[in-house]
């Protein structure tokens, strides 16, 4: 009997066949476990790859290259009277600073070579307006370079390959090498990127216009979706009778949360723009569209927060004579507020990153000025990223990544705030 067990039967642990089977099964176990680790590593690796690619190609957009050159503030060329301009610097607002900049550039770098950015004359104007006494003198100034020189200075191009394959000319490369060896180039903080609006020239393009558009939109979204979401959640969770109407409301909220965002864009286009004739590209329309998209999310989060408040609180308040409305507004809401706020903030983060519905309502306009109000044409940061990503020039690729870095930083900030709020105020019953 013992003999038989040891050799032939399925439970013969000592037999070679059994040992092989066990080894195989353990090998499969290790393999399976390895697959799990591999899947996790792949997903994490992709995230890391994505972030490093974006940061590597985008961090340079926070730096700008400037070139040192001598500019003569010749009143005749500027087209202003020196004495009058010294008395009233506002006269300089329409003076021909482009002209003196062009002259200086032609003289120092040769005709027809663009080294200085087209927008750099604004620096000269601001200088002259701040100190009109420089009129008639020659000043050494640092001016913003064109995107090509900027990219050369940042080492974006592989100069070992044939120059004909590069988007920069041989003249530009030669000039850059000369200026670099003479110490006439410097790279510093790119303030324009953080304070400017869109531009056709990558070196002049900034994200503040888009960022402000996003903020204006989020204000509208928050003001509309937060009260709506919280009030609906209170009604559904605390007062609604179990009937067909309540079911319809519940089903529509749950479905809205899963509707593709682009459908909300179609709704915004058909209702807000074509039926109600609201202004195209305006933050108020974008905010309304995003509010309709965000508020089901807030309802779902708020309902969970209200559900988490224990019934004993309600019973105690009712027991000492509070009315049902008083119970909810004096006791349940204050206790559920942290959860509601967390859900709202997460909804806002989602709205901030949303692009597709905004394209539908015309927020992809090319705008070179910062929006000033809720009804003026504006764009949003994700849409700006989309617009720039269409542009193949090296300068805009860098700016796109830079804008993505800013967007991700804001999302990190918002989500961090939500986590902080949750940890600080969440009560576990």
């Amino acid at each position: 009997m013992t003999e038989r067990l040891a050799t032939g039967a399925p439970t013969a642990w000592g037999s070679d066949a059994m040992q092989n089977r066990i080894r195989r099964r353990y090998r499969q176990e290790r393999l399976f476990r390895g697959l799990g680790i591999a899947a996790l590593a792949l997903a994490g690796g992709f995230l890391l790859f994505l972030l490093t690619t974006i940061v590597a190609s985008g961090w340079n957009s926070f730096r700008a290259t400037e070139v040192q050159m001598a500019v003569t503030f010749d009143p005749a060329r500027l087209g202003v009277d020196a004495a009058a301009a010294k008395a009233d610097p506002n006269l300089l607002a329409k003076a021909n600073f482009q002209g003196i900049m062009g002259d200086a550039s032609d003289a120092q770098f040769g005709r027809g070579v663009r080294i200085v950015s087209d927008g750099a004359w604004l620096t000269l104007r601001d200088m002259a307006q701040a100190d009109p006494s420089i009129l008639g003198t020659t000043q050494t100034v640092w001016l913003l370079t064109t995107s090509n020189i900027d990219q050369l200075a940042k080492g974006a191009f592989d100069l070992t390959i044939d120059a004909a394959d590069l988007p920069v000319t041989a003249t530009e490369i030669a000039l850059w090498k000369r200026l670099n060896s003479e110490g006439k180039l410097r790279t510093g903080l790119n303030a324009l990127f953080l304070t400017g609006a869109d531009s056709v020239d990558p070196e002049l393009a900034g994200i503040w216009g888009a960022l402000k558009g996003s903020f204006l939109m989020l204000i509208i979204t928050l003001v509309i979706s937060f009260p709506l979401g919280v009030l609906s959640a209170i009604y559904l969770e605390e007062f609604a009778a179990k009937n067909r109407w309540t079911d319809i409301i519940e089903v529509s909220i749950n479905n809205l949360a899963a509707v593709p965002s682009i459908i909300f864009g179609l709704l915004g286009l058909a209702v807000f723009l074509n039926t109600l004739n609201m202004p195209r590209s305006a933050p108020i329309v974008g905010g309304l569209t995003l509010a309709l998209m965000t508020f089901p999310v807030i309802v779902i989060a708020s309902r969970a927060a209200i559900k988490a408040v224990p019934p004993s609180i309600r019973d105690a308040a009712l027991g000492i004579g509070a009315s049902p409305v008083q119970v909810v507004f004096h006791h349940v809401i204050p206790l559920a507020l942290p959860g509601m706020l967390t859900g709202t903030i997460l909804g806002m983060a989602r709205a901030l990153g949303e692009t597709a519905p905004l394209l539908m309502i015309g927020m992809r306009a090319f705008l070179t000025s910062v929006p000033q109000g809720f009804t003026q044409p504006a764009t949003a940061l994700p849409v700006q990223i989309f617009i720039w990503s269409d542009n193949v020039s090296r300068g805009f690729v860098e700016k796109t990544s830079g804008a993505i870095i800013v967007l991700l930083l804001f999302l990190l900030l918002i989500n961090g705030l939500a986590i902080y709020l949750r940890n600080k105020f969440e009560v576990r019953w």
């Binding site: 899947a39 996790l40 899963a258 459908i263 409305v325 983060a349 990503s389």
Partner: protein
């Protein structure tokens, strides 16, 4: 609409004043002889205040809201009527263009008028608008004051102010919760309405079963290729190919395996770190994925395809867009699988382990089969999310409506076409623009059906184990 903000502020000021007056009167009840106990008054003083404030605010806000919504139309009608005969623009497009120019002049958007008639109309507009603004402002103030006065006279110690205020609060709650239903109806109605107009121009059978998509309708009748073809099958195929096939080939194994590893194998500490990191993948905006797919993944995929000898590889391949979309969906699949696995009773798992099965055998032969309906439901939800995803395909998948199964070729999707059709110049009556709404309707119905079906599968199965 000059000064409408100030009018709203004034209305709220009136409300605050009414609240203070009502509350003061109620406080006087308590102080009055015979009413020296707060209990002699039915409602707390602030409810009396709120009652008066509501009676003041509500009518005033109704008047102001009417002015805000209908004011432009009223002013426009009067300005048009005031124009001399013969210079009046024809109703329709002419009139809309004229009015938008006038409004632009009034706002100061344009330095000078293109149309000399508009110059005069702009002046008239300012005058008419001011007159109406004063009219409505005074009307709002009057009804507000009347409401407040009436409410104030009704206050008595036994007046049930709280019940009335609470009834209004309930009305507000119900209104708020109706917005969701209204939005759903708004979506359905606007999609159906515009689609209906589209199907009057293009037969529905051609749209649903046609194999040729080229929505460019001509401006001139004799232009080459002016007919415009609206067979959406290539778009449906592209959507399924990218969102339901390629993306899922990436997302299902990775999502499932990460969920299995994190729930069944990893230590609690590691799980606590790894899960949020995974969730970050879902939090990255889709436009970022789109940029990454177009800039980094798509060229790599094309180079790979060329290196293995596929000469017609596109730089906007279905594979690149689908892969990146799959990565985006991983956390979603993972958390659905997580829920499904967690719902399997521990006794089943323990039983299997007690019989000597290794953990992986338990997972493969007990947990996954038991959790399969939940996992399938989760995958269907993920598919519904993937086919509705827009930015990745707009940026990385291209616009060529090919009916191909070659992942290195370019295909286009429903969402990408909606964006292409509705950005840039649009005239709202052309079949090209309206076709976007028909595509939107199909997308809405399909995602809705997928969601309802998937949720019912998940729910039904969960009940089976509860």
């Amino acid at each position: 609409m000059s000064g409408i903000g100030a009018m709203f502020a004034a209305a709220f000021g009136l409300g605050v004043l009414a609240w203070w007056l009502g509350r003061r009167k109620a406080l006087a009840f308590v102080a009055a002889p015979g009413g020296d106990r707060i209990g002699a008054v039915h409602s707390l003083p602030q409810y009396h205040g709120a009652f008066v404030a509501i009676l003041a605010l509500l009518p005033a806000l109704v008047v102001l809201a009417f002015w805000g919504l209908a004011g432009n139309g009223l002013v426009a009608a009067e300005v048009l009527a005031g124009l001399p005969e013969g210079t009046r623009p024809q109703p329709g497009l002419d009139q809309a263009a004229f009015l938008s120019e006038v409004r632009g002049l009034v706002r100061g958007d344009y330095a000078a008028a293109f149309n000399p008639v508009a110059e005069g109309a702009a002046k008239a507009w300012v005058a008419v608008e001011r007159r109406y603004a004063i009219l409505f402002g005074v009307a709002a103030l009057a009804v507000g004051l009347m409401g407040a006065l009436w409410g104030w006279t009704r206050l008595r110690p036994d007046f049930r102010a709280r019940s009335r205020v609470e009834r209004l609060v309930m009305g507000l709650l119900i209104l708020a919760s109706l917005v969701a239903t209204l939005t759903t109806f708004g979506i359905v109605l606007s999609l159906i309405f515009e689609s209906f107009r589209f199907f009057q121009m293009v037969p529905i059978t051609e749209f649903l079963f046609g194999l040729n998509w080229s929505p460019q309708t001509a401006i001139r009748a004799d232009q080459v290729g002016s007919s415009g073809a609206f067979g959406a099958v290539p778009l449906f195929w592209g959507t399924v190919f990218i969102g339901a096939i390629i993306a899922m080939i990436v997302a299902i194994p990775l999502g499932l395996m990460t969920a299995i590893y994190l729930t069944q194998y990893s230590a609690a500490g590691f799980r606590k770190v790894a899960k949020p990191v995974l969730e970050v993948l879902a939090g990255v905006p889709t436009v970022v994925y789109g940029f990454f797919a177009a800039l980094t993944v798509a060229p790599a995929v094309r180079d790979f395809a060329l290196s293995i000898g596929i000469s017609d590889a596109s730089s906007e391949s279905a594979l690149a867009a689908g892969m990146v979309m799959g990565v985006m969906i991983i956390p979603f699949v993972s958390s659905m699988a997580d829920d499904a696995l967690a719902a399997v009773p521990a006794s089943m798992r323990d039983g299997s382990l007690a019989m000597g099965a290794t953990p992986s055998e338990t997972i493969r032969k007990v947990l996954i089969p038991a959790a399969l309906p939940g996992i399938v439901g989760g995958v269907l939800l993920a598919v519904s999310r993937a086919i509705g995803e827009t930015m990745i395909v707009v940026m990385a998948a291209g616009m060529a409506a090919n009916l191909t199964a070659n992942p290195f070729n370019s295909v286009t999707t429903v969402t990408a076409q909606i964006v292409a059709l509705l950005t840039g110049d649009q005239e709202f009556d052309s079949a090209k623009t309206l076709s976007a709404f028909a595509l939107g309707l199909v997308l809405f119905l399909v995602t809705l059906a997928l969601n309802i079906f998937a949720l019912s599968v998940v729910k039904k199965y969960r009940e089976a184990y509860d």
